[in-house]
């Protein structure tokens, strides 16, 4: 039986919805592809026609969550933010969006996401491009030259993954250590940029 494009998209979205629900309610490792297929009303093998693996499915969810969150961000919204502050807000928004999927982040980092992720049309690569585009926009808004420099992007991506990896297993109260690590990482990153316009100078008008 042939399946229409609309029906295929409907199946894909249903699988994503069910995966979101299952990943949020159960430990990631206990959610099997068989359970995902059953919850989505498709055959076990059919699931792989839509997503290459459980990690690819999770990466798709991560990308969708981050996409929605980053769309609402505006650098220098207040006008007096430092670059480090805006980048902190950017990553914190992404982390907040990923909160329901926190259990899946570690596994996706270990497989689909990595420092070498780039270029393809897979969800992990799309996530990388999306985050780095938001970073470029933010950096450019602060008047930093060479915002497109690939080294800049690579450095940020590495720090971003590091923060995510730390956050995924952070057992400090309310994951407060992640806040500190993120703050320090963004200060470090901002200070590494050419003609950094006060990235380390957190506004402090005392």
């Amino acid at each position: 039986m042939r399946i229409t494009a609309a029906a295929r998209e409907e199946n894909r979205l249903r699988i994503l919805r069910e995966a979101q629900r299952l990943f949020a309610s159960q430990p990631y490792g206990e959610v099997t592809t068989r359970a995902l297929a059953a919850a989505s009303g498709v055959a076990a093998g059919t699931l792989f026609n839509y997503f290459a693996s459980k990690e690819a499915l999770a990466a798709e969810l991560l990308d969708a969550a981050v996409q929605q969150e980053l769309a609402g961000l505006r650098p220098r919204a207040r006008g007096d933010e430092s670059l480090a502050e805006d980048l902190f807000a950017l990553v914190l928004s992404a982390i907040r969006a990923l909160e329901p999927l926190r259990g899946a982040v570690g596994a996706v980092l270990a497989t689909a996401l990595g420092p070498y992720t780039s270029g393809g049309d897979d969800p992990a690569s799309r996530l990388r491009q999306r985050v780095l585009e938001a970073v470029r926009t933010t950096v450019a808004a602060h008047g930093v030259p060479d915002a497109d420099d690939p080294i800049t992007g690579h450095l940020f991506w590495t720090l971003f993954l590091g923060v995510l990896a730390f956050w995924a297993t952070d057992d400090s109260p309310a994951q407060e250590d992640t806040l500190v690590l993120l703050d320090q990482s963004m200060r470090l990153f901002a200070s590494s940029l050419p003609a950094d316009p006060g990235a380390m100078e957190v506004r402090d008008a005392r």
Binding site: D80, E85, L92, E176, V180, V202, D204, R206
Partner: protein
């Protein structure tokens, strides 16, 4: 604590470049070390660097003229202070508190220390607004923009473990909002563990066991300070205790806008000590401020059995109408029943003109020793006599008297040189309170009838009849 720190400082010294992150207005750029090992290393290296500066100074003094010796010592004090400041910014939490304690002693500390460390009263590593907003979300469930009618994104003061912002509540009250750095409670806990580990590794340190008790006491106090809910309760208690003192103002807590890491209090408007002194106040204004300070400290001490542990200049505000504002409620220590019993015994013995030696030995934890160094007992007598000098004096006591302060400084110096610093842990706070209050009164050049205030408050609390 001062004695402990000075002891650590004096045991260590070099001629190294001053730390880089001391640019005016800037905070430390060094990341906050959280792992115990890394913190231990940082604390150890700070101590070693400060110590190295003094050791080199001593060697150089051998070949120097008197004039050169003075210049050399002055430079060494400055280098040590800069290093301590750098370390304070780095380790934040506890070491910053210690550095602040040093700064509050005014002329009791070498001038250069005070100049450099004074900055710590109002300078702490800043938090940007995005981080602060997140602290609000986590603590109060909403962002400051929603919780307040207006909120200043720039801090107007630094608390040792956070920063203070001006805001206006939806019902129109101007407030000061203290926001804490994330993770500071655990950082302080980690610092104090490191401090204890350092003490354990210094077998040559006299009275190490007692020093460790004092650090444990400091640790308990500092950890308590990191919970702003405790501070809010203390502020309420202090407000109730001082409610009938017309010349003292305690800001009101806004409980709905306060939590573990956020504390909202009424905003008081006035001058800190330096600004107050810069206005060249009359002797009458100085005396009034001094009297308010002593009255508030004594009321809490006798009436509430509570020590105001940090009477640093940053914790008081001199209002334009002449009243004194109390700003900080983190560093208070209530006596236990056993400790209070000893204090009452001391007050009564002093009032009766009785011999204080046995009580002094208990305070110094020397009462079970088979042999007590006579110079140690004499140091206890002299220090106590110095503290009691103002309450024994008939009429207004001139706290601006340099000779009085110098005698206290000499006593402290001798005690440290001889390492006669053993004490019951609660006296960590009492020494800090008594010495800090006198340092503040000295800077005010206040003349206050301390004897009258002391007696009135003791009688009011039923300590003496």
């Amino acid at each position: 604590m001062r004695a402990d720190v000075m002891e650590l400082l004096s045991s260590v010294d070099d001629d190294v470049a001053l730390p880089a992150p001391l640019a005016p207005g800037g905070g430390s750029r060094t990341p906050l070390p959280r792992s115990r090992t890394r913190r231990l290393f940082a604390l150890g290296s700070m101590q070693a660097r400060v110590a190295a500066a003094y050791a080199l100074c001593r060697v150089r003094e051998v070949f120097a003229t008197e004039e050169e010796k003075r210049a050399l010592r002055s430079k060494t004090h400055m280098v040590a202070a800069m290093r301590l400041l750098d370390g304070a910014s780095y380790l934040r939490g506890m070491v910053m508190k210690v550095a602040q304690a040093l700064a509050s002693y005014g002329e009791l500390t070498p001038r250069e220390y005070v100049e450099v460390l004074d900055a710590l009263h109002f300078e702490a590593p800043p938090m940007h607004f995005a981080l602060l907003r997140e602290q609000f979300r986590r603590d109060l469930g909403a962002e400051p923009e929603r919780l307040f009618a207006s909120f200043e994104t720039d801090a107007f003061a630094a608390a040792s473990i956070g920063q203070v912002h001006a805001a206006r509540t939806h019902d129109g009250h101007d407030v000061a909002v203290k926001v804490q750095y994330p993770g500071i409670a655990r950082a302080i806990d980690s610092d104090t563990r490191a401090w204890l580990a350092l003490l354990a590794s210094m077998p040559f340190l006299k009275d190490r066991r007692y020093e460790a008790d004092v650090v444990r006491e400091a640790r308990a106090g500092l950890v308590r300070e990191t919970d702003y809910r405790v501070e809010a309760r203390t502020a309420d208690d202090v407000a109730a205790a001082l409610a009938d003192l017309a010349d003292v103002v305690v800001p009101r807590v806004h409980p709905a806008l306060s939590g573990e890491h956020v504390l909202t209090l009424d905003l008081l408007r006035g001058d800190h000590l330096d600004a107050f002194l810069a206005r060249d106040p009359s002797q009458e204004q100085r005396d009034r401020a001094g009297e308010s300070l002593l009255r508030a400290v004594s009321r809490l001490y006798y009436g509430e059995r509570t020590i105001l542990g940090d009477p640093g200049p940053g914790n008081f505000l001199f209002l334009r109408d002449g009243r004194l504002g109390v700003l900080d409620f983190g560093c208070y220590r209530r006596f236990t029943d056993a400790e209070w019993e000893l204090i009452v015994a001391m007050c009564r013995a002093e009032r009766a003109g009785a011999d204080l030696d046995a009580l002094l030995l208990r305070c110094a934890r020397l009462d079970a020793e088979p042999h007590v160094d006579p110079t140690h007992l004499q140091a206890l007598r002299d220090t106590t006599a110095w503290y009691f000098e103002s309450t024994r004096h008939e009429g207004a006591f001139d706290f601006g008297d340099v000779a009085y302060l110098r005698r206290g400084m000499e006593l402290q110096k001798r005690i440290m040189e001889r390492r006669q610093t053993r004490q019951m842990p609660v006296f960590l706070w009492q020494t800090r309170s008594f010495t800090g209050t006198r340092a503040l009164l000295h800077r005010l050049r206040a003349r206050v009838d301390h004897r009258r205030i002391d007696r009135e408050e003791m009688e009011r609390a039923g300590v003496v009849s």
